[in-house]
Amino acid sequence: MTSLETKQLTIEIGDVSVCRNLSVNFKSGEVWSVLGKNGVGKSTLLHSLAGLQHVASGNILLGDIPLKDISLKKRAQTIGILFQEQDPSFPGTVLETTLTGRHPWLSLFEGEGENDFELATQALKQLDLDGMEQRALGSLSGGEQRRVDIAALLLQQPQIVLLDEPVNHLDLHYQIDVIGNLVETWRNKGGIVIMVMHDVNLAMRFSDHLLLLFGNGETYHGHTEDLAMEEVFSRLYGHPLRRYPANGKHFFVPL
């Protein structure tokens, strides 16, 4: 069983204190949403959890081992991240980009094998991208590029996935279908999902835990139902919200 844990984690970017002495344990089978206003450092936190960002103090543990003591390859086999944007200087094809997800599993002297191509074909089919394998990445729409990134993430097969605004650019159908599927798959196989969300209601729908960043170093974390209160969210966003029950869950509407 995997777990990702922060101990007394403090992250700062410039004048913004993202979190101060944050100790939280992300456990196997849990789906977390990170919420907060623009610029409070949600992406920075996600990058830190992936080991891509320097932290001011504190520790991030993967299992019992500090993240920084784990080899880059092993780390990439365990933790995968979906970035907000693509910015390739020399864009490859859809297939090539999808296959980049296999990199952590291949040795220096190895090329992608039949098995890797098989995985890529499946993932592209699952994301409605079959038939587009040889298209140049630059010729795709934002939503299609996003789905290529998700396909690459599926090929990476990490136990822990970090998603930075996963529904960005995606149509309503893919928001629910693709992200919903991904979240359910990881939940069922005992993985961990931590995602930065803009849409409170999608967060309520998909995640069982919340991590709220207030932008002054203060953080709340816990079960979604425990934190989903009007006063908490109104303070979080600096705007009054009202809670309505629907389908056994709660939904929020800004006033």
């Binding site: 910015d87 390739p88 094809t93 090539e96």
Partner: protein, 328 residues
């Protein structure tokens, strides 16, 4: 689908290899004294010191071999610099390595040094420039592409001013050879086994990391998240690309165009997988320069044109054609 794209890459490499062979055929037979291919083969086999033998083995073959190696080095270095700096306008000279070499070489010429010493001076200037950029770009452990690019570009323009200054104060008797050196010239190229070996081993090493290069060109964070040690990789690329450039410049001056455009031509033809791009660029760069060198010494014979002029004359229309074809 996948089999097809791999097949395409291999086919392209095979075609480029044939083109390289053709370029050597061209280089060995054409010249002020035309030599039949049969005679060329005969002289190579017989090894006797006939007039043809001297021309082919002592003049044409070494020049063609040097041109191939230099072209390969420049194209490979250009492809690497473009990945390193994440900038399609990057070329081997953008970080000022050639500028450093040129300033040192021109100073040596001004002091009346012999050609061997001029090469050593050029090598020294290139190394100095390489070390300067490397250390200056590295503030607080940060070694970002932008910072590296800016450091290199500023240093390069400094060297440029240095070159203008030297040209302005040099006696006119020196000017011709100085200009010719800068435009690119193979007139004193020895055979030398070290350069081809260095090119081959650079290519082989970078091929091992070609998949990492693909990831790096998708963005540094992205590459890190997939397990690439990007800092080490980028320093490695910098060293290899700089050394290739330094050696090429020392041997043949600053031949323009090859390092910038050949990698792009290759990407237009075979796509952006560096496992194909790197060997293809090396082959195409070498081939193009062998052709250019042959044309440069034959077209207005006995007058020799600077090779850099010919590479641009061939390359510009070829590149524009490929770009237009791709745009459709």
């Amino acid at each position: 689908m996948t089999v097809r794209s791999r097949f395409r890459g291999r086919l392209a490499l095979l075609l480029l290899l044939s083109a390289a062979v053709v370029s050597f055929y061209f280089a060995l037979t054409f010249g002020s004294a035309n030599t039949e291919w049969g005679a060329v083969l005969e002289t190579i086999k017989s090894g006797s010191a006939t007039f043809d033998h001297t021309i082919v083995m002592k003049l044409r073959l070494p020049r063609a071999a040097s041109a191939f190696v230099v072209g390969g080095m420049l194209a490979l270095a250009g492809a690497l610099m473009q990945v390193l700096l994440r900038n399609p306008l990057a070329d081997p000279y953008v970080l000022g390595i050639s500028g450093g070499a040129a300033v040192a070489a021109l100073l040596a010429m001004l002091l009346g040094w012999q050609s061997g010493l001029i090469s050593i001076a050029a090598a020294g200037g290139a190394m100095l420039s390489m070390i300067l950029v490397f250390t200056l770009a590295r503030g607080r452990g940060d070694w970002s592409s932008t910072r590296l690019l800016l450091t290199g570009v500023v240093l390069a323009s400094g060297w440029g001013a240095g070159i203008s200054f030297i040209l302005a104060v040099s006696p006119s008797s020196h000017l011709y050879s100085m200009l010719f050196w800068m435009m690119g010239d193979f007139s004193d190229s020895g055979p030398g086994y070290i350069r081809p070996i260095f090119l081959a081993s650079s290519l082989a090493t970078m091929m091992l990391f070609a998949r990492n290069l693909n990831l790096l060109s998708n963005g540094e964070l992205r590459a890190q998240s997939l397990g690439v040690n990007t800092l080490a990789l980028r320093i490695g690329i910098y060293l290899v690309a700089s050394l290739l450039t330094a050696i090429a410049v020392t041997l043949a001056g600053t031949i323009g165009f090859v390092g910038l455009v050949v990698p792009h031509m290759v990407r237009l033809i075979v796509g952006s997988d560096h496992r194909i791009v790197l060997p293809a660029a090396t082959l195409l760069g070498g081939t193009l320069l062998v052709f250019a060198e042959t044309i440069a010494r034959t077209i207005l014979a006995p007058r020799m044109l600077p090779v850099g002029v010919i590479t641009a004359f061939i390359g510009v229309p070829l590149f524009l054609y490929l770009l237009r074809r791709r745009a459709k």
